[in-house]
């Protein structure tokens, strides 16, 4: 009976605008039909409820007493040991049934009550509308005209668009608002990119069984990206993902909190279409037991992230374990374009060499915070990787002699990060005057980066394509030299970071702002206490008048150093009104922050203004591989 009524309803759902949703609903329905068939067999009392609409009405007086509910529910709970799966399947089944819109099929399972009787009693819902209901669904507007619920005017597709901007936790909360919102919240299109790491998404999957159900029903072929915490990384889960999610292309496996690896000896399958894989390594767990099972499946990988424990370690570790075999890994992944080895304590030049020997498509290599890297294999890296355009080595222990051996003139490098690498002035001059097409340079915290480097760079003319410059905490750059450089190249810059230098104050900034007409990202100021005060109102004015394309601004000056007046609101207002593309404004916590926040709040722009504790701005947004490099 159930199936018949459902089948007759589905064609009516195919309204042109809502085809996609109805397709999803149909597949959910099909799956729930199978599930419901199972549960029906197990709970004979359901058959009584599954008859006609009229039957439901007849039964309603008895059913409506809440007290009579509880014994039934308790009973069925005792009957069914795997209540977790069952309740999820059932709820999905009920959900599927409500999507048809025909109250007659609005059947509760396991003794719960049909909502239909309540609907009949409501004034707006008359029996004559019953048949219309499924016609109109999923376009509710006609139904709710009487109560002028404007959000209900919006078609499901639009509601889906709105929900797509919410976190999954928020979406699950939305499911409890009303039936329509619940239906939209469960649409597989909202579950294409899912993180199951509680610290990231707030989602705690209680058991492996519920995860398997989710994979099968909620995620399915729509799933593109998934993050799994260690307790959910098992061969059963991976098998299920391999079989139910054929479009899964991005996966993050977080082993970082692992105490021990699960047993993968029985693993036979693994998602085969992965293009992106991110593995969060643990310090002590050796990965070979897992990795050797997946080498055969990952040769399509284009983007690889191995995330080390750099951020979690407080003191120098005595024992460093090479927890993953890079040499085996590189043989299995010849198609890598982007490799990110982040903060891994055992990674050194031999690993860079390994990757460059087999990954001829390499475009972007990042080894930030891998402090054993000295650069001894950089020359061969560039000789082999003709397509390498981005090299990030923040915090590496680079030796100037190795860097100078690289054939920079022949390279295709465009983006370079050598922050905190302690290269000599001679090396920097050599490098910068020989790289023909450098667009992005981060060279902060280097003592050797002094005025002579800037001078040589200007004179060689090799900064002609520069769009992003980060000289944070460059103690040996004077403001005159910076002024000279910016007079020549300021107007081409999209991103400029001149922070962390007490001697660079609003004075220099004011003198160069009119040159920075194309600036999208600006970072200024230092947290150190200064002897002078920064006239921040004039600064805001200057920025507002010179930088209409500004998207991200960060002022790092300590609140005590900022001088602002009662007219400050006006300056802030001008900034807000002239920098129309401003997406992010970061300030130190303090009175000035409060004033700015209040000003932006009046314009309903609460999320634009942030403190430096919850947001940092960076030139990294300008990297061409920025999206591929995002992790965590």
């Amino acid at each position: 009976m159930l199936e018949r009524s459902r089948m007759s309803d589905s064609p009516e759902m195919d309204t042109p605008a809502e085809e996609e949703i109805s397709d999803i609903n149909e597949s959910v329905l099909r799956q729930s039909t199978e599930i419901l068939a199972t549960t029906t067999r197990q709970s004979p009392q359901i058959d009584d409820l599954t008859e006609t609409q009229e039957d439901n009405i007849r039964q309603s007086p008895e059913m409506n007493e809440p007290k009579s509910e509880s014994p039934e529910i308790k009973q069925t709970t005792q009957e069914s040991p795997e209540i977790n799966i069952m309740s999820m399947f059932e709820s999905l089944a009920v959900n599927a049934l409500t999507t048809i819109g025909n109250p007659g099929t609005n059947v509760e399972v396991k003794g719960e009550h049909p909502s239909m009787p309540k609907k009949i009693k409501r004034s707006e819902f008359t029996p004559s509308e019953c048949s219309d209901f499924s016609d109109e669904f999923p376009i509710p507007p006609q139904r709710s005209k009487k109560k002028d619920r404007t959000i209900e005017k919006l078609p499901d597709k639009v509601l889906l668009n709105i929900f797509s901007y919410l976190s999954h936790r928020a979406i699950c909360r939305m499911a409890t608002v009303c039936k329509r919102w619940r239906m939209v919240a469960y649409d597989t299109k909202l579950w294409t990119h899912v993180s199951l790491r509680p610290e990231i998404s707030g989602l705690h999957v209680g058991s492996l069984e519920s995860l398997l159900a989710l994979i099968s029903i909620r995620f399915g072929p729509s799933l593109r990206y998934i993050e799994l915490p260690i307790e959910l990384i098992t061969h059963t889960v991976l098998h299920e993902l391999a079989s139910k999610c054929p479009n899964l292309t991005h996966m993050l496996l977080d082993f970082s909190t692992a105490m021990q690896l699960h047993d993968f000896s029985e693993m036979q399958a693994f998602p085969t279409k992965l293009r992106y894989l991110c593995i969060c390594l643990s310090e002590v767990i050796f990965m070979e037991g897992f990795m050797r099972k997946i080498y055969n499946f990952i040769n399509g990988l284009e983007i690889l992230h191995l995330i080390g424990t750099y951020e979690k370690v407080e003191e120098e570790e005595e024992e460093i374990y090479e927890v993953i075999n890079v040499h085996k890994l590189k043989s299995a992944t010849p198609n890598l374009r982007v490799i990110n080895l982040y903060g891994i304590n055992f990674v050194d030049d031999s690993h860079i060499d390994a990757f460059s020997s087999n990954c001829i498509q390499l475009e972007c290599l990042a080894v930030n915070y891998c402090n054993k890297v000295t650069g001894s294999t950089m020359k061969t890296l560039f000789q082999r990787s003709r397509r390498l355009t981005c090299l990030l080595m923040n915090g590496c222990s680079l030796q100037s002699e190795y860097v100078m051996q690289v054939e920079w003139e022949k390279s295709s490098i465009q983006e370079l990060d050598v922050t905190a690498t302690d290269l000599s002035s001679e090396c920097l001059i050599d490098m910068l005057t020989r790289i023909p097409n450098l667009r992005f340079l981060s060279a902060g915290q280097i003592n050797g980066f002094n005025d002579s480097v800037l001078k040589a760079w200007i004179e060689a003319g090799t900064a002609r394509n520069l769009v992003a410059l980060d000289v944070d905490a460059s103690d040996n750059l004077t403001d005159e030299a910076l002024h000279r450089f910016l007079s020549r190249h300021g107007s081409q810059l999209w991103g400029l970071v001149m922070s962390g230098m007490p001697h660079i104050t609003d004075q220099l900034w004011q003198s160069v702002l009119q040159l920075l007409t194309n600036a999208k990202i600006l970072i200024m100021g230092t947290q150190e206490r200064l002897g002078v005060n920064i006239h921040v109102d004039q600064l805001m004015d200057g920025i507002a008048n010179s930088c209409p394309n500004l998207e991200r601004l960060e002022l790092r000056w300590d609140p005590e150093n900022l001088r602002f007046s009662d007219k400050s609101q006006k300056a802030i207002d001008i900034l807000r009104v002239k920098c129309l593309k401003l997406k992010c404004l970061v300030l130190s916590d303090g009175r000035y922050y409060e004033i700015v926040k209040a000003n932006f709040e009046r314009a309903d722009r609460t999320t634009v203004v942030r403190t430096s504790t919850n947001c940092r701005v960076s030139n990294y947004y300008l990297l061409s591989n920025y999206k591929d490099l995002i992790f965590n």
């Binding site: 809440p66 509910e69 309740s87 999820m88 709820s91 509760e108 719960e112 009550h113 909502s115 109560k147 619920r149 404007t150 959000i151 209900e152 005017k153 919006l154 078609p155 597709k157 639009v158 668009n161 709105i162 929900f163 797509s164 901007y165 919410l166 999954h168 936790r169 928020a170 699950c172 909360r173 939305m174 499911a175 409890t176 608002v177 009303c178 919102w181 619940r182 990119h193 707030g202 989602l203 705690h204 999957v205 209680g206 519920s210 593109r224 990206y225 991005h250 009104v577 920098c579 129309l580 593309k581 401003l582 997406k583 992010c584 314009a603 309903d604 722009r605 999320t607 634009v608 995002i630």
Partner: protein
């Protein structure tokens, strides 16, 4: 610069630069189907959009006419709502009814940029609110029975703070 005439549901005619009008895929398709003719007084009827809303839509499209085309968000891991520009934020400081009318117009006219920014705005109105607060804000009726509500809550237990 060639102009095109757009007619709202309440029969008001708006003279609009054809390149600006074409930010609407619906209008662009209509014009392509009809064939572009500068001599004729082409009037494109838009029966689903009233004049007040059409005026606002044209205002938005005019400001955004030089925007780069929006990227395909296939690989989109995270959709942000904090990247609404100042101008857009001010533009969307309207009552709920107007906001939803704008969404409907952007949907009907198929203007992705306007649809996205209006949906983000609504998402921002939703964020951080409890379901009851949302019902109040948007005047939504809770059509769950007590039992159903409990069931939905249980279904989503895994999404709650532990």
């Amino acid at each position: 610069m060639p102009n095109i005439k757009l007619q709202s549901s309440d029969n008001e005619i708006f003279d609009v630069d054809v390149e600006i009008a074409k930010c609407s895929v619906t209008i662009k398709t209509m014009l392509e189907d009809l064939g572009m003719d500068d001599d004729e007084e082409e009037v494109v009827p838009l029966p689903n959009v009233n004049s007040a809303i059409l005026k606002k839509v044209i205002q938005w499209a005019t400001f955004h006419k030089d925007d780069p085309p929006l990227p395909e968000d296939d690989e989109n891991k995270e959709k942000r709502t904090d990247d609404i520009s100042s101008w857009d934020a001010d533009f969307l400081k309207v009552d709920q009814g107007t906001l939803f009318e704008l969404i409907l117009a952007a949907n009907y006219l198929d203007i992705k940029g306007l649809l996205d920014v209006t949906c983000k705005t609504v998402a921002n109105m939703i964020k951080g609110k409890t379901p009851e607060e949302i019902r109040k804000t948007f005047n939504i009726k809770n059509d769950f029975t007590a039992a159903e509500e409990e069931q939905v809550r249980k279904e989503n237990e895994w999404c709650e703070e532990k």
